[in-house]
Symmetry: C2
Subunit: 603 residues, 2 copies
Amino acid sequence: MAEYMNMDTLRFILNDVLDVSQLCELPRFKDYDQESFNMLLDSIKAFADKEMYPVFKEMDENPARYEDGKIVVHPVVKTLMKASGKNGYIGPTFDYEVGGMQLPHVIESASAHVMQSANNSLPGYFALTGGAANLIISYGSQELIDRYVPNMMKGAWGGTMCLTEPQAGSSLSDITTSATRNEDGSFNITGQKIFISGGDHEYASNFVHLVLVRIEGAPAGTKGISLFVVPKFRIAENGDLTPNDVITAGDFQKMGQRGYCTTHLVFGENNNCKGWLVGAENKGLKYMFQMMNGARIDVGMTAASTATAAYHASLQYAKERPQGRRILAGGKKNVEQEQTFIINHPDVRRMLLLQRAVVEGSLSLLFQTSLYHDLSKESGSEDEREHYHDLLEILTPIAKTYPSEMGRVSINNGLQILGGYGFCTDFPLEQYYRDIRIMALYEGTTGIQSLDLLGRKVTMKNGAAMRRLTKEIIGTIKEASTYDDLKKYAETLKEASKTLEASLMHLLQFAMEGQHERYVADATIFMEMMSNIVIAWQWLKMATVAKKALLTGDETYTANFYENKITTMQFYFKYELPKISAAQVTLMHEDNLTIPEVKEGVF
Amino acid sequence: MAEYMNMDTLRFILNDVLDVSQLCELPRFKDYDQESFNMLLDSIKAFADKEMYPVFKEMDENPARYEDGKIVVHPVVKTLMKASGKNGYIGPTFDYEVGGMQLPHVIESASAHVMQSANNSLPGYFALTGGAANLIISYGSQELIDRYVPNMMKGAWGGTMCLTEPQAGSSLSDITTSATRNEDGSFNITGQKIFISGGDHEYASNFVHLVLVRIEGAPAGTKGISLFVVPKFRIAENGDLTPNDVITAGDFQKMGQRGYCTTHLVFGENNNCKGWLVGAENKGLKYMFQMMNGARIDVGMTAASTATAAYHASLQYAKERPQGRRILAGGKKNVEQEQTFIINHPDVRRMLLLQRAVVEGSLSLLFQTSLYHDLSKESGSEDEREHYHDLLEILTPIAKTYPSEMGRVSINNGLQILGGYGFCTDFPLEQYYRDIRIMALYEGTTGIQSLDLLGRKVTMKNGAAMRRLTKEIIGTIKEASTYDDLKKYAETLKEASKTLEASLMHLLQFAMEGQHERYVADATIFMEMMSNIVIAWQWLKMATVAKKALLTGDETYTANFYENKITTMQFYFKYELPKISAAQVTLMHEDNLTIPEVKEGVF
């Protein structure tokens, strides 16, 4: 089987860079240690090798589709739902008492990485089931938990999140799916939801939809949204399932992730659809958004994992494909020579190193963010929890966006390495290229993430999160500076941080003058700039750990392994980090071109 | 019908920016004037509206494919081949005496733009037929011309270019298709060619393949390659067609341009395939490459045109889709308000302006390069012809690469504007996104173009081409500087040119030290940098023409039209041109990371 991810790199980030075993000293995770984490990941790798990677291409060639009122998906979904229930892949972070494994989020992220690299269409089926169960467990009544969660945890029932409506995409204020109260405490639900991932198929006997709904008479906007459980089949007293007037109206046909169904659901067309309120009225969006950090990290991880698999596929091709010859002094080539493997051409090496820099930089940031997620919930003191929560909040939009945007660029380079074959369906690159494109759209587009970063996270608590992050980055710079070989890179990152600060100060003037729309007009460029610095920080951190290991003679990995981490850091600092200077010019440019009133008639 | 390109913008570039009617003073083009060019383009627009745009999506949904030894393509190809013969679309630049219209290349490029914007899969069928005929006309004997060209010009027979072999992609030195001489002057041909666009279908009664072949005993490398005509059917004395042992072995299934067949041809499997030498032995690659500037400009044009259509599709969506609300002072939104159209969000406007800047900048450069092509052939004096030939040579790799690479980025932004719908097959953006991906691979990948630019064109004739280009750019800067509003942009471009020069001087040191591989190691980054400056030059030129028109009260187009050209130039200078500073840091960075021996064991 082709290599689609690298377990050593995964372990290096988890164990050596982040030392996730620190979590095992916290009460919640006391049953675990580094070895048990490693064993768990090995078992997931074995499962992914056997069940997930082999059907990756088949699922694309036989896409999920709507036939005779039903959604048809690849039969592997049956295997998967069963196995995920049995192996504990659904809700692995949940409490023991509801059937979870009390695993840290960072380990759940690592498992997701392994599986998503093998097959990016498949993990969603059980991951969303876990997400839906989590909402019920966190905010629902004991009755709702008892009724729905056990079958979800078993993989017998699927779960979904229903947010988007045809007229309300990014703007959830405008949803119109409505609920009216029945005498028995249930509600009558009417409306349509679109883009519902994993919303229906034959391999689950029921679906538990977690639906954002407006209760009749609720306030306008996001303050009037409530969360409901709306099952496909109602559960009678005796446990029988009866239809709940949830109709599957279609399956969106997509450019990529074609094995993953994306349904259109109609609730209450015959006025016979019942839903049950989760938690309090009008708190639905708040509940949903308390799950959002995890969901966004997971999208970023799917992007990084898809790009990981693409990197390995292009690396393998580059090693095996003879083509052309090295360039000799004077620009000549010796045609009498055998062709060289394309991995020996500097431009191909550049494209491979770019992929590695993007992919491993993304993974490092994603695991870092997931670790903060755990620490924000489980650290001993309130102060610590707040500290890590702020870091989680400010890094989440970046951890979602950078892998999605730059992962696409990374795969584009992988495809290019294959030349014309990269464009052909006989090779996997074109599928990765199509699949990853959704990641910048899922769970809030790049534009929405950038508004969240600049408009909300950077300024929250008077800039507290930003200060905490800067302090983390400075810590890494200081440690790196103690190694002669890394000093110049540490210095470069220090300067880069100052550049970011100067750009931000410039923009904040607009906010202070009440020109808030102008303040965030170039939020996407700010996102590019800040992401770039955050990834440079992760690379400097990885290089420092590698350097230390080389100097202390640590033999956990080979010397070559450590050297390569340093080389990839150098690559990032030469080829990627310099882009912040362009972003700075753009952000500080006096021309104001995208506010409608300033340039009227431009379209 | 949806707008897929803009005739005013096309005419503005041709007539107002480039004044292509200057060509009509040259003897070859004396039968034409601006009005006749405009009329011709209008007639092509009408044809594209009626025959090409309506089948764009159908051709993707029913891709070209191999069935029972035959290639099945969309029946529109029949209409197209007939009409293109009748309307003169095949070889419109050819001499009257061989059935051409003696049109300038720049007008052929303009027609191509109209048609490719309507349907990027379709024009290749007749354009390659023209290209093949051109090789025969230019280098073949009168006998070959008489035998093949008339039926090709009628659209009765198709033509192809057969270069690539499974083991020889970018490296043509390594082709192995071979020829042995027969007593009758013909040759026996044996070998395989892959990726042959338009290589077979039922709507042409014969195919005339122009094939790169090594004659037995020829020198190794590119110096031993000859050009042959190898027809699918041989022509008997009485005109009957008899099979020539050219077997179609398959059709490559691709991610995009799925309506355009990409065949695998096997020559002489039964040792009964005859070919006829075109021109002299061992000159094949030279002949082929004399056609290459035109072919590369055409790929760039297909990219720019695909991105044009995508821009218009996303613009239309942005104007019609309500979503969200404007951001008010303090970052608030008024949810009681109606939703606004997404075109009013600054980030959407940024993505639209980016597309416009890339697309129109690309078009302007492509027409500029095509005009130089005409002037290099038809100008009155040897000196002038040399001048324009040098400009053509140095701009061609850029005119091929910039639209292919940045057109992809442009379409990516168009897709993003549609949100989740952009990823769905109900909307055209995802098809444009897939289609354009091949352009960075066709006719020499971006890596190959970049080696050509830095390794050959920049240094040719001791830098003469580079000097001529710089002089052109300085001319534009000087003219722009005479307008107060444009002065600062002119100044920025001047600085940018100096930055480019400094980076180039830095790199040239490596060449002078004999480190040629290192000199071109980052050729792709140099390409990005130089392209960026060349497009900025084109924008400053367009803005200067627009400014002049506004000041003189020229009413050819509306004042708003001219203002928008200036706004788009400003956008380019704020958001795109600054990227050269990052490229400079990369190019001048001391770390050497992609030469295999410097970092061994990195992969």
